[in-house]
Amino acid sequence: MPSNDKNTVVLQKKPWVLICLSLVIIGLGAFIVGLMGRHPERAWQAYLINFLLWSSIAQGGLLFSVVMHTVKARWSGPLSNLAESFTAFFPISFGLFLILYLGRNDLFPWLHQDLHGKEVWLNIPFLFARDSVGLLILYSLGFLYLYHAFWLKLDRSISSGRIRTFLYKQWDQHIPDAQTCSRRMTVFGILYILAFALILSLIGFDLVMSMDPHWYSTLFGAYTFVKAFYVGLGGLIILASALHLLPEIDFRLKPSNFHDIGKLFFAFCLVWADFFYVQLVVIWYGNIPEETAYVIERTMTPPWNSLAWFIFIICFILPFFILLNKKIKTKPQFMSILCTVVIMGIWLEHLLLIGPALNPHGSALPLGLMDGLIFLGFSGLMALAVTAFLNLFPELLRVTDGEVT
């Protein structure tokens, strides 16, 4: 298979890996400098935001493959393969979560507050225990899904590497035939979807909503996982566009593929905005101070109100009007720029939600060069993970028609 060898060679190419590594080092450097400075909590804030965003992209990305398999979609084969490469970030994400423990004193405003009974839930040991277990469950289910999905599509003639040999051995021991494999794949897929909803809700409640421990919104959990799917789709479009556009990589999608995933992205843009509005209208209308203080601080008082409007415009207004047009969805260059803008917007949205709680009485937005560098560092991590994965499993880049997994 000369074409796939070619892909492997390209992906292993030194310049790309070096670029990603240097991004990671820059990010790490900025983070450490921030920690050693006068405001280590700013560094941890940036770390948390990036952890949440990039983990969401990975979790949402895999969700695409799982959902397409569960509904037996026929158009999504090559895109599902790409989506599965995001699982490479899962172990990294888990490690990054554990590192969050080191910043616990700087991250959680409720540590020294009177929680009126909520301490049973909001305390460091329980929070970290349940979130670690939750992420472990979610990521394990993702890998189990992948384990079975790959049995059906990997090319056994490629026999290099320890991971592949390990996989082949496991398969030979545990998987008898295609039907059982497919069945188990569906089961793990459904479990992943359930875990996605539950665990991402939990993460949303624990790491974002609890930053203001006296505020609550029942929909916040669902809002978190809808946001994750939105950015996951954005990440997938960027990945697919990049691979499609690179002349050295042998991966070409049809315009109808881009159109379909563009439509799905548009749909989730609407769903995300809807979930945002639904919370807003209930809180606005009830006008109960317990709930409105949170919203007023973030949408009506400076410095956050301008950020809120900016996010609304680049994450909803702009994509809505642009994506109404059919042709634009089929242009990968444009779509990747749009999706990048949206992902940055959602990064800012995380800042909007967490920032006021971590920087009370601030007069300026807690946003600076360090945040940008740490963002680049995390993007380097994601790029490395995906590259390594595609390098290891180059069959994912094979585009065949009528692939039914």
């Binding site: 509005y277 807003l280 209208v281 606005w284 006008n287």
Partner: protein, 174 residues
């Protein structure tokens, strides 16, 4: 001048219908209409049809509706400056809902007006040159020819596996 005949070739197989359409384009006869029981991509590709302009009607309706809904809510609220439940008199958050519903309603109205206008329905004269089998399982291709070419046109369709229905249409004297 003479009688012009409209001959409809009826095919039960979509591919044969498409090949007949392709062949008619190269023939001296004019293709009037193609009837089908289902919308067919192959036929619309063969006929090289342009995209429908209905979308413009829908969009116009939607934009009108958005502003109509908002304006209705703003107008009714500003008639009496009553503060209810501490809400502002002109409140964008709830008025957005009214605007949204009116957007959809008027977009649908635009869509319907567009359909009526573009499809030109209701229109019953089309039924005169129509074979009821076209709504069942047949694809009907209506071609026009002069009286002397009638037999050749009939053979053209029959050779491709189609059945025939003939409608005659008298041409006006000059």
């Amino acid at each position: 001048m003479g009688t012009e005949y409209r001959v409809m070739g009826l095919f039960t197989d979509e591919n044969r219908a498409v090949s007949a359409i392709e062949a008619i384009k190269d023939s001296p006869w004019s293709l009037r209409r193609v009837h089908s029981p289902v919308p067919s991509h192959k036929i619309s590709d063969a006929l090289d049809l342009k995209k429908s302009k209905i979308g413009y009607f829908t969009l116009a309706g939607g934009i009108t509706g958005f502003f109509a809904g908002f304006l209705l809510a703003v107008f009714t609220a500003s008639q009496w400056h009553l503060i209810v439940s501490g809400k502002p008199i002109i409140a964008l958050v709830p008025f957005f809902i009214v605007g949204f519903e009116f957007t959809i309603l008027f977009a649908i109205f635009g869509n319907v007006v567009g359909l009526i206008h573009q499809m030109q329905l209701p229109e019953f004269t089309g039924l005169e040159e129509y074979d009821p089998r076209c709504s069942g399982e047949h694809f009907g291709i209506l071609a026009a020819c002069k009286a002397d070419e009638l037999e050749r046109l009939k053979a053209f369709f029959q050779n491709r596996g189609g059945e025939i229905n003939i409608f005659s249409k008298k041409q006006e004297h000059q």
